[in-house]
């Protein structure tokens, strides 16, 4: 074989590139072996440490536990906080208080504050979560700054921690962000609102609803179900006469509980957007009586399946309408689609 130096350029390139690729492949293979060994060792050690801390923390959470923790190394701290967070999540009452006391008495809160600056997402999140549970006011400013970051995960976790520390104040601080930050998952935000309870969130919800933020009003409307209905419904129903926005109208129609508001539902029954007509059908069926029969029969002939479906369901629920009358309506319906849909609704009622 000729030495590489005398090979033609393409052969020299191919040999060099294959040597580089092979060396890189071998390096990766070595990395797999080393990393594998390291991870196995870490997993075993981590499991042992986790077991150790879990037992210690469980003992501390119980009666008569020692309040002095053994020294926790810097490398062990993130894992310790994750175990602590996990236990704190499921603890309440005196056990939760004991777990929190354990951290503050051993200076872990101070170390967790320092961990907020970590560049590792996992460590940062563990620290944010722990400080939230501790209701650690000393880290408020830092958490508030984190809640304004563009990163949706870190900012959302920080917002949650703020809400745990002081829900009332945090809601004031986050009034703008809750509607505006569409990257904060609404379904997770709903869990937080649910945990905080109507007594805590209603005032903030009322403020946000009155501001009618754009964009983001639909987020506030969806969250408003976690507030006190008597304080929310007045504002939302008030939009029936003042708004043409489909999202707003749908939300407002969902709050109709008083027959005096039914004229608004009749108006919405002819709206160009089918989702609004569907919401109108639901409102008419939920609150209405015999007077709403013509409107619901009209909606039963709608071109959209869901509008017809909810109109049929509305007819079933309509106060003062006897089952035989519904059968008569079905038999006499001139529109085949309407008759079929009413037939389905009647069958569903019999089936359930």
């Amino acid at each position: 074989m000729r030495p590489l130096l005398f090979a033609d350029p393409q052969t020299a390139f191919a040999l060099t590139a294959s040597a580089v690729a092979f060396a890189l492949g071998c390096a990766l293979l070595l990395a797999i072996a080393v990393l594998g060994a390291l991870r196995r060792w870490r997993a075993q050690r981590g499991a042992a440490i986790e077991r150790h801390w879990r037992m210690a923390l469980q003992a501390a959470a119980g009666e008569g536990a020692a309040i002095k923790l053994p020294a926790i190394g810097t490398r062990q701290l993130p894992l310790f906080l994750e175990v602590w967070n996990h236990l704190r999540e499921s603890a309440d009452g005196p056990a939760a208080a004991r777990l929190e006391g354990l951290l503050t008495r051993n200076g872990i809160d101070r170390r967790a504050r320092a961990m907020l600056r970590s560049t590792f997402l996992r460590q940062r999140l563990a620290a944010i979560t722990a400080l939230g549970y501790l209701r650690e006011r000393g880290s408020w400013e830092r958490l508030e700054a984190l809640s304004r970051l563009a990163d949706p995960v870190v900012s959302f976790a920080a917002a949650r921690a703020l809400l745990r520390i002081d829900a009332g104040h945090a809601l004031e601080v986050l009034l703008g962000a809750i509607p505006a930050r569409s990257d904060w998952p609404l379904a997770r935000l709903a869990t937080i609102f649910h945990e905080l309870g109507p007594g805590t969130v209603t005032s903030a919800l009322v403020t946000m609803l009155l501001r009618r933020p754009r964009p983001g009003l639909e987020r506030v409307i969806k969250l408003s179900r976690f507030g006190q209905p008597e304080k929310i419904s007045g504002i939302v129903r008030g939009w029936l006469g003042s708004s043409t926005d489909p999202d707003v109208l749908m939300a407002a129609l969902a709050y109709i509980e008083d027959p005096r508001d039914l004229p608004w539902a009749h108006g919405a029954a002819t709206h160009a957007q089918w989702r609004v007509r569907m919401a109108a059908a639901r409102a008419l069926g939920r609150v209405g009586g015999r007077d709403e029969l013509p409107a619901l029969l009209e909606l039963l002939r709608d071109s959209i399946w869901w509008v017809r479906y909810h109109a049929a369901q509305g007819l079933i629920r309509l106060k003062g309408l006897e089952p035989f009358e519904l059968e008569t309506l079905r038999e006499n319906a001139r529109d085949a689609f309407a008759a079929d849909m009413l037939g389905q609704a009647l069958a569903e009622r019999r089936w359930s």
Binding site: S18, F22, A31, E82, R188, A190
Partner: protein
Amino acid sequence: MSLPVAALMWLFITYFVVINGACLALNLLAWPALRRRLSLLPLENLPPVHPDLAPPISLLICARDCEATIVERVRAALRLYYNEFEVVVVNDGSRDATLEVLRDAFGLESFPEVYWRRIPARPVRTIYHSRVHPNLRVVDKERGGTADALNVGINASRYPLFLALDARWSLRRDGLRLLVEPFVDDPKTVATGCTTRISEGGDFEAAPALPERLLDRMQVVEHLREPLFGRLGWARLNASLTVSGAAILFRKDAVVDTAGYRSDVIAEEMELVTRLHLAPRPGGERYRIHVIPEPICRQSPAANLGALRQARMRWQVSLAQSLARNRGHAGKRNATGRFARVFLLCFEVYGPAVEIAAYVMMTAMFLLGLLPGLAYVSFLALAFSLGFMVSMSALLLEEMSFRLYPRWGQAARLAIAAIAENLGYRQLVAFWRLDALLRWWQAR
């Protein structure tokens, strides 16, 4: 070496360097997404999804002449963990006793349900409701093929998200919760895919078993290298065109707007994903197609070379069809049109042709004395080394993330398979894919 021979050699060398370099780049691109995902695993870091706001899901099952397996498939679907879901079985004009076994097993009774034909499809004969499972319905329709049956399933479904279950793979029981998370966290999401892992036995209760046969283990490596980490890399660019062969959760409205599944393609889901990328959106509305890395979907390895050949040929034709059917949009939209499509055309569709041509022509030139031995050896060494490097990078990502095969012996056997697959397996697969491509061209 004459100038034409040298030019050909440069061409093939460049091709191998670029395709393997791109695969390595995709793996590198996948790593930040994987790492971030792993950071979010501790449950306490983020609050759970509120059940009232978790979108309900319709699970669609297409049943055609499968009386022996359909009951177990439906039971497996009903056993999945999720807050609110329905199972819609579409009996696609079965000629055996599929409908009868379903009726007996689940207490089905015909129901006067009004069927909403949002997507054109073959007529529906009867809709059945289950007395035993309130969330189970069976739609009996005229025979029309899988795509047609799935379109009927979409029409009959009640919920905003749907997933078509396939007999070829099994879904982990908490898989729906993971698939729905991108929809919850990102309102722009129109579809979420996952990837399958090859494992003997689709039983999720047991730890995944690394297959015994070398051929099967090579499929494991192949799946890690291409579908898994490659897809994650593309997903970061919002350019996952090839999410298929695994569970994909779709937003129903988006699918209805694009007229549902097409009946004239082999892989309906792959084509649908491509179309979703390219669908016109009013006002340039943004969208995302996500891929989650969690190993929630499993399939068994191909039983023999014949089955493997069929699977790879099917993949090749599916990809070519998906791109050909949607070529009118090339280059018009985001990274998908501009980059992913070019990549897929050059390296996935026409790649096997270039690869096989390279092996055949280089060998012929060597045998004819036109190519020096050292040059020929250098070419083969390059093809092997680059493949070896990319396979190792995929194994490293697996080791750094989910470690489905954590034992020493398993890791070692996978590494051996990663080396061995470059010595014949990859070339054989490339040959099958070229064969499929030629047949497809001829058929057109």
